[in-house]
């Protein structure tokens, strides 16, 4: 009897899971990047989905890779439909494999689609259980299709290249990765506006002689710089340039590593000093005055190393110089942040989450302020206090040869 029960149990166990969900890995159409564009056809808005697919056979040794006429490792397919899902199905119909979204790493939304409203495009990827929540969301200047059709010399797939850039270099310089999850989280807030990095197709800059000879000009490549700013309702408002992005990243605590160029304390701007930010930590403090009007203080503490002094004059060893450099970095940071703040205020979109900070720190006042945040934000007083400490000056401290005159 007991044996029968155990057998029954095993049978039920096998049936509840069921091997019909099984798919051989070679039967999967592996999507590595997806692009969504909005196009007009016969006066009707249509979604144009572009999928970048991997062809694994071309990637294993002996699998036919290399040589002319060999199968390509990646290719793109597009399909049109009324929604993201219908457009994907249109693609699936033309592919001999089963579309697999589990390895999709980048979701690119075209500019047109983003300007209209990005929310409908995000519904399917966030709703589906097979898509990754940590897929990177990127806004394309122009169409997403064009970005995905770029063939990179290194990865051969622009989607994978994008993924690698965002993953490896995210947080350095003006590259700020945003995942679907981050984006949806910010969309969920009442006042905080979502942002997403921007990718554009640019001509290749580092060209070899062979590249120039190619008919049709230099091959295109992709470039990530800047940030697309949305309003809380999900419409693309404008793009931030590189400097503004850097300021935004400092406020959002997303800067891991970057360069800050300041003028030499002695010779001035003609001898730039490159400071390397190794750590930064920002805190947003909300002050309330008697009339209940909030003001924001952004406190930033950074640690910098001196990485390059593009100059030749000696005598930069003293502590006053160090302090002077630190002060210059502070001013630079303050200026940068002020710039992006005034830009955001112009656009009237709270990309910093200042409103959220007010809600957290002064909940009672927020009950009144919250409904009028779009009126308060453009006039919000924002002060920045940066505090930098210079940690290392490298192995040489001064430029080579700089001390010669002291030796005489």
């Amino acid at each position: 009897m007991k044996k029968l029960q155990v057998l029954l149990l095993i049978g039920i166990m096998l049936l509840t899971g069921g091997c019909w969900d099984r798919t051989e890995i070679s039967d999967l159409g592996l999507i590595v990047a997806t692009g969504a564009d909005l196009v007009k056809e016969d006066g009707e808005d249509k979604v144009w989905m572009t999928l970048q697919m991997a062809n694994p056979v071309a990637m294993v040794p002996g699998g036919g890779g290399g040589g002319a006429g060999a199968p390509r490792a990646f290719w793109t397919v597009s399909g049109m439909g009324r929604s993201v899902r219908t457009a994907s199905i249109a693609v699936a119909e033309r592919i001999p494999k089963r579309l697999f979204w589990g390895q999709n790493r980048v979701f690119i939304v075209g500019e047109e689609a983003a300007r209209r409203n990005i929310i409908p495009f995000l519904d399917r990827p966030l709703r589906g259980h097979s898509t990754r929540r940590n897929t990177y969301l990127v806004v394309a200047r122009g169409t997403a299709k064009k970005v995905l059709e770029v063939e990179m010399p290194t990865f051969r797939a622009s989607g994978l290249a994008l993924n690698n850039i965002l993953e490896l270099e995210g947080g350095t310089e003006a590259i700020m990765p945003v995942t679907l999850n981050d984006f949806a989280y910010r969309l969920g807030s009442k006042v905080t506006a979502p942002v997403a990095p921007v990718v554009s197709v640019v001509p290749q800059t580092s060209l070899t002689v062979e590249d120039i000879k190619v008919p049709g000009g230099p091959s295109p490549t992709i470039d990530i710089s800047g940030i697309a700013v949305f309003n809380p309702e999900g419409r693309l408002l404008d793009f931030l340039n590189k400097e503004e992005t850097l300021g935004l990243m400092l406020v959002l605590n997303k800067s891991k590593e970057r360069e800050i160029t300041v003028a030499c304390p002695v010779k001035g701007p003609q001898e730039p000093v490159i400071m390397h930010l190794v750590r930064s930590n920002s805190r947003t403090v909300v002050h309330m005055d008697e009339k209940g009007i909030p003001s924001i203080e952004v406190k930033i503490r950074t640690i910098c190393d001196l990485w390059e002094h593009f100059g030749s004059h000696p005598g930069m060893t003293g502590i006053p110089y160090v302090q002077s450099l630190e002060k210059r970095v502070n001013t630079h940071i303050e200026k940068e942040i002020k710039m992006v703040v005034s830009r955001a205020q112009e656009l009237n979109t709270d990309i910093f989450g200042f409103g959220e900070e007010v809600r957290r720190q002064h909940r009672d006042e927020w009950l009144q302020l919250g409904n009028h945040w779009s009126e308060i934000f453009p006039g919000l007083e924002v002060t920045v206090s940066a505090e930098t400490s210079l940690r290392h000056r490298g192995l040489t401290i001064e430029a080579p040869g700089a001390r010669k005159e002291h030796l005489l």
Partner: protein, 475 residues
């Protein structure tokens, strides 16, 4: 001997010739007849035994059935006319091979002798290592027709008397025709009717037996079997090797961790691979997906069939490798490695990734320490994992894992929980589990096994002298 008739009975070939010569010489030449005549006939045997026989082991036998049995158990029997007593003389010289190096449990460091087929030699190998007066041995005769001598050995003041009593009862309960090897006995005296896991450890190493006796375990030696039985046994012991106690403890820690990894690979890897590549492709990092998918492109079978096929071929190779004479062994290697492995991959019948998976599994299977027994059990468990992984994915793997854990936790070896000291958790005994503490720190015997006297040593750890050693004054 004059007019007294004697009869010596033995089975030819089982008796040492030199000894039998000694017997006849003393009977025929040494005994003065006039002395014999003065002895009353019924006491004649005892008299001869006490005064003239140069044997170290003799015994009086009065029962005829017992007498017959002794004859068949390689003893010599002397009967004297008119005397109702038979005399059993130990002149055993059963044919046997010499003491060789252990085959299944070979080590690099440590003793290199192994048990042989003779019980007497085996007990001697243990006794020579353990000069303890408390080391007791009890003899049983098991097997209605084989009349095999079975010896139960234990250190009386270390072993748990309840466990010893249980062992005594289980052995004497066994009633079969013949005990040819210790494994016959093992299946009779273990705690459970059906289990894949060895509940009693078989060993061919005398050093292991001696060390286990010191931990309070008992040893069962079966005449004619070079594998002795050691119990109570813990699951963990199959992931330990005798060498663990001879090497640097830190190195041993690393090796033992490796063995647990090997255990995991040997049981789970094929199932895990099939589960991940057919159900959970999103778990793999992108470059790995490409490699696995690309390699599988030409394979005509589903991953499950592919895995099962190579596993079966591996099992066949294993079986063939054991049975084949050594001379032909090389041929098997070539066929296995080159023809099946290389050619199958090149023909696209099997993906290289799968060959690597099964290869890693096969290697891990034999990297378990002293676990040939465990290794052979894992063969089946692996297939169960594979089937459930292929049908239910990681969910199935988790189910089998849990079921296995429940089964293991329910096992006992002579009443001692099989998963001790992990379940039940006994922190003090963990010192010799995943890692081995240095000898000076292994101060206690496992309390679930040993009955009394749990302290092994009171030696303080080694320490440099507090004051520097005075140097010899120079000149």
């Amino acid at each position: 001997m004059g007019d007294i008739k004697c009869l010596a009975v033995w089975v030819d070939g089982l008796i040492n010739n030199r000894v039998s010569h000694d017997l006849f010489r003393s009977l025929m030449l040494d005994i003065p007849e006039e002395k014999l005549r003065r002895v009353p006939k019924p006491e004649l045997t005892d008299y001869i035994n006490q005064h003239f026989l140069p044997f170290y082991s003799t015994a009086r036998v009065t029962d005829l059935t017992e007498l017959k049995r002794w004859i068949l158990m390689a003893k010599m029997i002397l009967l004297v006319d008119g005397c109702p007593i038979g005399l059993m003389l130990d002149a055993e010289a059963t044919p046997m091979r010499g003491i060789t190096e252990p085959v299944l449990e070979s080590v690099v460091a440590g003793p290199r002798d192994s048990f042989v087929e003779s019980l007497r030699i085996n007990t001697a190998l243990i006794r020579s290592r353990l000069g303890d007066v408390q080391l007791k041995s009890e003899n049983f005769i098991v097997g209605r027709r084989s009349n095999t001598l079975v010896t139960l050995m234990y250190v009386e003041d270390l072993a748990n008397p309840l466990i010893i009593e249980e062992a005594r009862q289980r052995i004497s309960r066994v009633d079969i025709d013949g005990v040819i090897d210790s494994s016959y006995l093992k299946e009779y005296i273990q705690d459970r009717k059906h289990t894949l896991f060895p509940l009693i450890k078989a060993s061919e190493r005398p050093d292991k037996a001696a060390a286990d006796l010191l931990e309070g375990r008992f040893v069962v030696i079966v005449d004619g079997s070079p594998q002795i039985l050691i119990a109570p046994t813990l699951f963990m012991e199959f992931l330990q090797s005798a060498e663990d106690y001879y090497l640097n403890p830190l190195v041993v820690w690393m090796i033992r961790v490796l063995r647990y990894l090997a255990l995991f690979i040997a049981t789970n890897l094929p199932g895990l691979y099939v589960a991940v590549t057919t159900f959970h492709q999103e778990l793999l990092p992108i470059p790995l997906v490409f490699v696995v998918a690309g390699a599988r492109e030409t394979v005509p079978f589903p991953a499950f069939v592919e895995a099962l096929t190579i596993l079966v071929i591996f099992e066949l190779l294993w079986e063939a490798g054991i049975r084949l004479p050594q001379v032909v062994g090389a041929a098997i290697n070539i066929v296995g490695a080159l023809i099946l492995g290389q050619a199958a991959v090149q023909a696209g019948l099997v993906s290289p990734a799968m060959v690597i998976v099964i290869g890693a599994t096969a290697i891990s299977n034999f990297a378990l320490g002293s676990g040939y027994e465990l290794a052979s059990s894992l063969r089946l468990i692996r297939v169960v994992f594979l089937i459930f992984g292929a049908v239910l994915g990681l969910y199935g793997i988790a189910l089998v894992f849990l079921a296995l854990l429940v089964h293991l936790a329910g096992l006992r070896s002579f009443g001692v929980p099989y998963l001790a000291p992990l379940a039940p958790m006994r922190p003090r005994e963990l010192k010799d589990a995943m890692f081995r503490a240095p000898w000076w720190d292994l101060a206690y015997r496992p309390a679930l096994i040993a009955g009394k006297d749990l302290t092994v040593s009171n030696t303080a750890p080694p320490e440099p002298p507090k004051t520097p050693v005075p140097r010899k004054p120079e000149n």
